[in-house]
Subunit: 251 residues, 6 copies
């Protein structure tokens, strides 16, 4: 089985880090292919960055989606999730949704600990869109910039741990969702320290994608996620259109 | 890895059928242990049957939960789900929730096709409790008794297919969730006929349980799912209490 | 008029205490029959205990429901409420829902003061299921074990009063709902001290059941609460099935 | 016990009819006092009529509320409900809310059959405000003018019955709520014909008011329903102000 | 263009103040006509006052609505909004809704700073009715009486500013809605001090009414806001009925 | 006053058509500047197209937003709305939200008539995100491709009119929202034929933007819409970053 892991930002070290996190949890027969858009922000820390990332995910899904058995979008805002689903037949999973789904199997209520406070609203919008607004009891910013996570030292870990402890107590939560792909490395360590499930979305998304693919389940090509209609695309997107071919085929 | 699949009703042939369905999708290293309560209704077709089933699931989770890596509750009403989570450290997954989660990865809207119309409200309550009330666009009864599914012939399949086609059209849905563990055998066949994802909760629950267990994620033992308090239990439940031992241990 | 009050736990002193509380508010012509299951936990302090209680309520409703004009389920988690409604033609009222309904007639917002913090989520799930999630402005645990309430001394009352005062202030609430059948004795006393309505669910449920019965209103036997279908029940539940007789009859 | 039943419209025959319906279900010791405002519309069939009715209810509650043990607002839009609660210490119940509460004790889903289609939105707003939007599965207008109900002949009853049958089937409901005080007479008859609970809000409100009053529960005078502040009122309302006296006293 | 601004309370100085605030923001060609009911409370600080105000707004809309191009209801509880819409063909805007709509164009979350804490629930009910319950992150009372705002000195402004700063911080909001028509004068000043958008509903309502009227958009006269039905009105409201004339005409 | 109207697709004739529609309703002193991205789909008919459009709107808002007093995003999916708000200090309005807001001032319930059925879900997600899910009673696809609207002949208008009539009847709605910028020309004509308010989002957005700008209200630069953080952007987006200058300045 081959999974495409798209890092929606343009930081190559982060792509490598995410790929490693994905490979660490992938099943024996699973190959991880990691990619990133050739345009957009070095890190996603707001709505503006997210808009470029969504287009970048659409691009990567169009270019590589037909060659894989599942796609993971490795940014906690799930940018371009619906676009990628429209472009692909393979299942597509965002790491925010994956983490929310996983947490809701393990606790009646969870808290999210994320990076910049200004991005909390993005998580809140997703929670609401997906239906987890009652399961999630709080979203907490740490104001740690995303790219500082690439080399998270003990001080940063302590800061995230403190935020998680505060969240568990204040929100009466039973699990922690880490709100950034850059935190993937920290989940095991934090879980051990906190004594509650700590969920990294990259790992969760890989396992859910493997599971769905193993069952022969694909993205619905009927209705809202049907293949994009054939039409002209301009500028750098010119080659990213879809031919008027049969439903379910890939380009 | 060992998974416990609890059939909450007391029909042994159905337990065998569910076990076979679980084994058919389990990963190579996964062992499926199937069990059923020693009391309660032969099939779950209403709230009354469900109450016995919830107690039966609690019993089975108490008796076997500490020996496995994951638990699947194989009745579409997810009876005893919260009770089993309290009783277990391993992840516990209900087949209704598993199917809802899987469907929401694959389509913006799905429909449920179930057995007796009188049980639709149970699915609706679950959808609402779990937060899928906006993703699910309709719950449809076929008024096929649960136990008739054990030997579903072509006529029954045709009836379920017709209900699914009606649901897809009427609800503008992109995927079908089969609303009964007894329909597990039919998913692949219906998916081929309908051309949209058809989700069987038993299969989905097995894959999700495998995935969570592989990641080292367990049911939160802090807060709402903490181990039951030590106390006296009467009657047939007398031996099902928990000792006042350390958090996280099993009995 | 005869009302069945089911204590879902197996503590006989608590059954007696609840019966006394019900009798204290019953109308002159009302007879209170109190009962408890012959199995399950001595107190309900979590989901696991609740699962046995639900089955116990189903059992008691099946055994006695046809002989009474109304049924009250006297545990704040309303265990087995839907099951009992399916099994009975008489109206069935849970004490949590009764208290929520009563409070919403008296204040725009109320707070719940209950026993163990770990059970708050059960109240929250009920509030949401019933539609009171906007009326209730907070659920507060006191971490007083249920069975300690049997002989609540001044210290316990002071502790509950303090929790109620905190809730009124913090939640900007106008009324207090007591979140345990074992607190029934304390309502009048607390109401006098706090100067706001303090609602005990046992009392509220008795009056609502009397009112509905007086109006000739019964549990709907059409649709979701129709009489259970005739089928085999195993083990200790073997005698609790329903015969395939006419709608509305009792066995 | 004395209950004030306020007919919010200015049709005296309808006040008499409502008073009779209330007396028919009142407990032996309950006295019904019926009243109506001295201004406003002869029937309430829209938002405009409702605004006068709300002021009329406030007036009547101010004039008579301190002399009674409970107040019933006998128009299905519950006009002036919050105002009357602010003005009174006795419990105040609207007939729409009473009917919704009663129905939700008896069925998992109910339908409303009302008069003019244009008033359906008023019921829908109330359902939503009160939290019954998930319990109510449909609101159906019959386009029967309110005042024609005063002398409802067999043809009208047949028309309402047909609307109710349609609603039960279409909405998959288990109970019918009659959406007008003028339909109070028809509940028993329709219940017999339809075989499901048929709820008249006047009757339900009387029993709930009796029950709350019997328990010594009053409208919260702390917070949102505190007694109106002393201030000047102009015009015909000049005498309806409140003195700056102690909390809980009546004028 | 002519706009009717109705002050729902009976304080003439406040009517003048509101008229001035409306004129200050009206477009060059817009004439502001300000009016107030001839009955009711001098200020609206609760549900009771609000009931008279709703009738007063209905009266004023009936008397003057046909002669104007738009109507503004200048009390933060939007009393009589639906009634005025039924009575008028011109667009009718409440200042609470106008402020909520404006704020939701400018920030993902806003906070309301209002007068008496006891009226917070009125704002909360409106937020919920209108669908802004997720956009509004908090409603905060200052316990400043409405009529003290007529001559708000520096001390009052400082108090409101402090409440706004607290709200922005505590609610993580990006904008402030002023919760009283009497605060209209303070918006610009507070916006400068706070550095975030501060929204006065009177100003917002005037601009929205101008905009809708300029587009030729009117209140729908089909369905829920159709002209009131012809019927008898009693007492002081006797002359406020509608003739059985053609749809869309004004009296 | 200068307003930027961004057509998110890359069809120049449609940009011209939208600009004309905006100019037709702009106030005398308002200048309309219309623009479109230099990349992306010729029409937005799904999630995939929408992802490019969001990035295109972000680009245009970055390039031109600092020179204007308000921004209108002229595609019914409101692509890039949050991104543009982050990038701009001027108010930013999407045409879908503008139309929903306008409709909710005019009717208790409205229906949306849009182009491709597959895009209905995009409108539904927006309705839910914005809080209009209860005001909107239905979203209806006509399966007219967006670009066919450029030269909408009588047949197309008749088809849209028929869909609108069906929606009004079926949904019990009082107003119609046209779900595509390409339908802007048709609003007046359809309003005349249907006799209910017909709302074009382009016109509504222009008036709301004019109104907010006239009041000196801007997008909040505190919290969730604060200016994007300074960072590297790659590829075609390289020049679209923000300098680390003072809050509120434009680049």
């Amino acid at each position: 089985m081959k999974l495409l892991v798209v890092n929606p930002n343009t930081s190559a070290p982060m792509t490598a880090q995410i790929a490693a996190a994905a490979r660490a949890v992938a099943a024996p027969g699973t190959t991880i292919v990691a990619t990133q858009p050739d345009f957009g922000a070095a890190s996603i820390e707001g709505h503006y960055d997210d808009a470029f990332a969504a287009a970048g995910v659409a691009q990567q899904a169009r270019l590589h989606g037909a060659q894989v058995d599942g796609v993971v979008i490795a940014c906690f805002g799930d940018p371009g999730l619906d676009a990628a689903r429209e472009a692909c037949t393979a299942p597509v999973i965002g790491i925010a949704e994956a983490a929310f789904h996983a947490a809701s199997f393990l606790a009646t209520g969870f808290s999210v600990v994320t990076t910049m406070t200004r991005t909390c609203v993005i998580a809140e919008h997703l929670l609401h869109k997906y239906g987890f607004e009652r399961r999630c009891r709080g979203v907490h910013g740490t104001d740690i910039p995303v790219l500082e996570l690439e080399a998270a030292g003990p001080a940063l870990v302590t800061r995230i741990e403190a935020a998680a402890r505060h969240a568990l107590q204040h929100d009466r939560s039973g699990a922690i969702v880490l709100g950034c792909a850059g935190m993937a490395d920290l989940a095991a360590q934090l879980q051990q320290r906190l004594g509650v499930p700590v969920i990294d979305g990259v790992a969760a998304a890989v396992k859910f994608a493997e599971g769905l693919a193993a069952l022969g389940l694909h993205t619905s090509k009927q209705g809202d996620y049907a293949r994009p209609l054939p039409k002209a695309y301009a500028g750098w997107a010119a080659s990213l259109g879809f031919a008027p071919s049969a439903v379910g085929s890939s380009s």
